[in-house]
Symmetry: C2
């Protein structure tokens, strides 16, 4: 049976189920979706249940698109949309895509454009022919998001062809063969950095994460030259759990070495990945190193990215369904759950996860329809890797800031742009709003502002309380006037020269470069000021040295190295980590529903991986493994 036979068979089945008078003018796989073209989109729109019922019967994700000849002229369509949608929705932009028959509607309140159970959308469809897709008008404009959307519009023809090719590959008829499922470890085992796994069946090969250890002199990239992933063109899909470079830093390079398939990621992961990959190139250039790839390859990756929201059950291969679940680590971070065969086996890759509710995110999901094997991170898997509770950390940082401001000092917090920064921002906003700390400006320097803008683009990826504040109380803490973007060297100069108390969040998080260095140079001599570490400081970084108590630091000033004496207070506030601590890792497994059969530990130093595996085995009687890189484990 060829793929065309499959489509013909589906077409007959669909025609059979449609009410009289609705006809199909075309049928095509586009990525994981089955697209029905019709000259009667209104009839579909009138029968909200048809698509749902077809999807259920055919077990496919179904999209209905108007036959191109049904589309209303763009100007008229905009007028019509404005008539249908309530004015409070804040319509801000429209983009018509003749290829997909879609119109992208930017609105401040997408919910009002969608309507109850999609009723307003259906109304729009009925009148304009075009299929409306609603995206939020970002409250803080993100250059990254804007650029990506613009780029994707320019390559829409290409992308349509790519999606068709991918779609036909996903839904190809398969020959019955042996039955086995294997996981090959390509990086990130008994180490942190360069995470990468291959999940394979007789039919399919899926690469999960493809990270880089940016700090490593050698062995910084996954083992992509081994036969298991050769040629790269034989890989069916790449799945990215989240945007940190140790999980996605090498993805653009895959396209240089022959990969041609899709990348699956949540929408925030797509955008944050592009931001961090571009920054990776820039940092390399700034440090005079050879950049790992150029931005053209990042665009190539974007062109082939298919975004999936949490909970979307999606065919990504003839025998594999992927579902992303919230992992609580950073914006859009996901646990990738694979359902293999029809009820044969289920395996979940946690990526990095936080099994505790934070100011930004809900706790990681550990409740799946089914799961037999879990591959989980072990960053804090050691016996004694306990962290204070989030609440304690919040109180502690407030206290330190309060005291510093009270004595006329400034607060400097080195952070990475994505994750920790936004977490601390929410804590500060709340403390200022409640009057716990003085209403001083909070300066955001480095990529923090841009990363925050991406957070405001995807509020549905934040936790329930934040969503409630933003959607129902109209209070978006990120929009607090306390936050001031440092968007030019001139502005930074002005801030550095200003003697009034303030709080500065600046990159990089480990003080090995970035704007934080400028603040340290100016604030470092004054003993009233405080430097607060909120994240892990790796061995060999300036941050680690200061944390250890060094107060005479070699600093590069105008090309020469000078010794700088620092007098400011130095404090570390633990508990803001985006990773589960030891207790949370253990609880995560203990409370997992259903109970898995096997746990594979990775993403941690060797002793952490082994220690966690051995404790899980002893306490919960589950089979555990801590593989090395380059091993293959057979799951079934």
């Amino acid at each position: 049976m060829t793929i065309d036979d499959v489509l013909n068979e589906l077409r007959a089945k669909i025609a059979d189920k449609l009410p009289k008078g609705i006809t199909i003018s075309g049928l095509e796989f586009e990525g994981p979706e089955l697209v029905i073209y019709t000259t009667e989109p209104r009839a579909f729109a009138d029968n909200g249940d048809i698509i749902r019922s077809l999807a259920k019967d055919l077990r496919k994700r179904i999209v209905v698109r108007p036959d191109p000849k049904m589309l209303l002229d763009a100007e008229q369509a905009i007028d019509k949309i404005k008539q249908i949608v309530p004015a409070e929705s804040g319509l801000s932009d429209f983009y018509f895509d003749p290829d997909t028959g879609e119109v992208i509607i930017e609105a401040e309140k997408p919910g009002l454009v969608i309507g109850r159970h999609g009723s307003t959308l259906r109304e729009i469809t009925k009148h304009i022919g075009w299929t409306p897709k609603v995206v939020r008008t970002p409250p803080i404009e993100s250059k990254t998001v804007k650029d990506i959307r613009q780029y994707l519009r320019t390559v829409k023809d290409d992308r349509k062809q790519i999606l068709k090719t991918i779609g036909r590959k996903i839904h190809r008829p398969v020959s019955t063969k042996d039955q086995w499922i294997r996981v090959t470890t390509l990086g990130g085992c008994k180490e942190v950095g360069r995470s990468s796994f291959l999940l394979s069946t007789p039919e399919t090969r899926i690469l999960i994460d493809c990270g880089v250890n940016t700090g490593a002199e050698s062995n910084g990239t996954p083992y992509l030259y081994v036969p298991e992933v050769s040629p790269l063109s034989s890989i069916d899909a790449v799945v990215i759990t989240h945007a940190h470079l140790d999980h996605c830093g090498i993805v653009p390079l895959l396209f240089k070495y022959g990969y041609e398939g899709p990348i699956y990621a949540t929408p925030p992961t797509r955008d944050l990945s592009a931001l961090l990959q571009l920054d990776y190139i820039e940092v390399a250039n700034r440090e005079g190193k050879r950049p790992p790839y150029d931005s053209a390859l990042i665009r190539e990756a974007l062109k082939r990215t298919i975004t999936l929201n949490y909970g979307d059950v999606t065919d990504i291969a003839p025998d594999v369904r992927l579902t992303f679940y919230n992992s609580g680590h950073i914006l859009g971070s996901a646990i990738a759950h694979f359902h293999i065969g029809e009820g044969l086996y289920n395996v979940a890759f946690t990526g990095d996860f936080k099994y505790e509710k934070s100011k930004l995110f809900d706790a990681a999901v550990n409740n799946f329809p089914r799961v037999e094997t879990v591959i989980m991170e072990s960053t804090y898997g050691g016996m004694h890797d306990m962290q204070p509770a989030r609440r304690e950390a919040e109180i502690e940082i407030q206290q330190v800031i309060k005291q510093t401001l009270a004595r006329g000092g400034k607060v400097l917090i080195p952070t990475f742009a994505v994750g920790r920064s936004q977490e601390v921002m929410i804590v500060l906003e709340e403390a200022i709003r409640r009057g716990i700390i003085d209403n001083v400006p909070v300066y955001l320097d480095g990529m923090i502002w841009e990363a925050t803008a991406i957070h405001t683009t995807y509020p549905e990826y934040l936790n329930v309380e934040l969503q409630d504040m933003i959607f129902h109380k109209g209070q978006n803490p990120f929009l607090s006037p306390s936050f001031v973007q440092v968007d030019s060297p001139q502005k930074r100069e002005k801030i550095l020269a200003d003697p009034s108390p303030c709080i500065v969040l600046a990159t990089s998080g480990m003080m090995n470069g970035g704007p934080v260095m400028e603040y340290l140079k100016t604030y470092g001599h004054d003993r009233r000021n405080t430097l607060i570490f909120v994240g892990y400081q790796a061995e060999g970084t300036l941050g680690r040295r200061i944390q250890k108590g060094w107060n005479e630091l070699p600093m590069s000033v105008g090309g020469k190295t000078e010794i700088m004496k620092i007098n400011l207070q130095v404090t570390t506030v633990d508990g803001f980590s985006g990773h589960s601590d030891r207790r949370q890792l253990m609880e995560y497994v203990k409370r997992m529903d259903p109970r898995p059969e096997r746990i594979i530990t990775n993403h941690g130093d060797e002793n952490k991986c082994l220690d966690l595996a051995s404790s899980i085995y002893k306490k919960y009687k589950l089979e555990t493994k801590s593989p090395m890189n380059l091993e293959t484990i057979r799951l079934i």
Copy 2:
């Protein structure tokens, strides 16, 4: 550096070390050997130490061959050889190969042609130019051996080119890369049959064994379609531990699917493999099944086979040295020991082994220069898999035969052609010679005679006592007049009609076909006769049914199935197994020198592999693993 640079460098080094007056006219890699062509072969021959010293300095296997223009005319050369060699050596044939400059001399006593420390050979070389190679005149002529030698002569040009290609590949200069060693399980794990492993480094991929489970309906062949061994042309070498089909049955097929490299095996394994592979085809044809491959592919395998004797340390890849050690299982069976890198790591694959001296073979070797990981068989690895000692089995079979003959009965022993048959033959010969049992004829039917002929071709692969009997006492038990070959249906008819007492060894060993069936039909009704099982009877075979006590058997007679009633005595004599029993497996590990770090168990039912591994771990505190098929274990 290219391979030609390597050769030029070697040439300079060799020229440097040679005494004045000896020159090199050519230098080439041929298979694992470095071949020096010279116009002064006599000078080399006069200086017995030159080659040994060069080999040691250059760490290469060195062969000196005369420059083609130095070779004496064949007729004259034969005359000269006859002059030099003592008449008692029993010269029987000569074959001159102008390509290699070699003359193959067949003699009944090769030792006399070789002389003390090779002195006679050197004398011959000096006078005729040709390099003499001595092979034994087989005391029983083996059609297999004769055909193989004849075939190899007809393809010598091809073979020379192949060896050159292989040689240049083995000695290719390598780029320094990552350092890792992996073993991938392709078959024969937690099962018996289709044994196959891949040993890989960043530089090299070596396939060890490639067997078939002839009894399996599906899953009878190793997983050769997985990416780890794709394409097959990327495999550097195939190493065969022994000739049983569960270790070599699929080898010829490799050449159909793109493999082009060498096969390494001992000389008896090469010949017995060809015999058993041909029989595999014939059995398939006889049973109306599609044969697995045709004989052309068996010849293709022979053409690319490089034989190595026990103890020959041989470069088979830039970073891998292979050495075969006696495994005591069947003629030529070997433990394959791999030395990887320069002192980096050592791994031994036992294949099937017997850790007990038998009538035919010495006990398996467990003493290696170095060894870190051992992959060992577990056929009898279960807690209770004890076998009687060999001596007890010998006494028991003698008793049963004695009693049967005493009451005027006949003895029927179903056996496989290779291994068990020859073991029983030696026991019978000794018993008859010593008068323990009557001097009755012992008929050998099926492939037993041919397999025995191959045993007599390679007496140096038998144990020390047998070699001593054959070489120094001139007593070859296989040549005993008691043994009578059944070489035609007419002869079998005559034997079946003869009422006098006798012993019959006939194939197949599990009574699922073969000439043994004819004997059963005739001897089955007489209660004075005895059927003796000396080997394992698999579930589902006729042998197993009879062993269980069935005495009404469905038999095919002239195309129809009839029920046959049998009255003969049925006995099982345990203890002739070619496999180590549980105690021997444990002792083998316990007494291994040096002590390995890790033991991987395979070649046994799941519970046997697990049971053996767990006992070794508990008793000897060694790391153990019992992988499934399709796993990859990283050794370093």
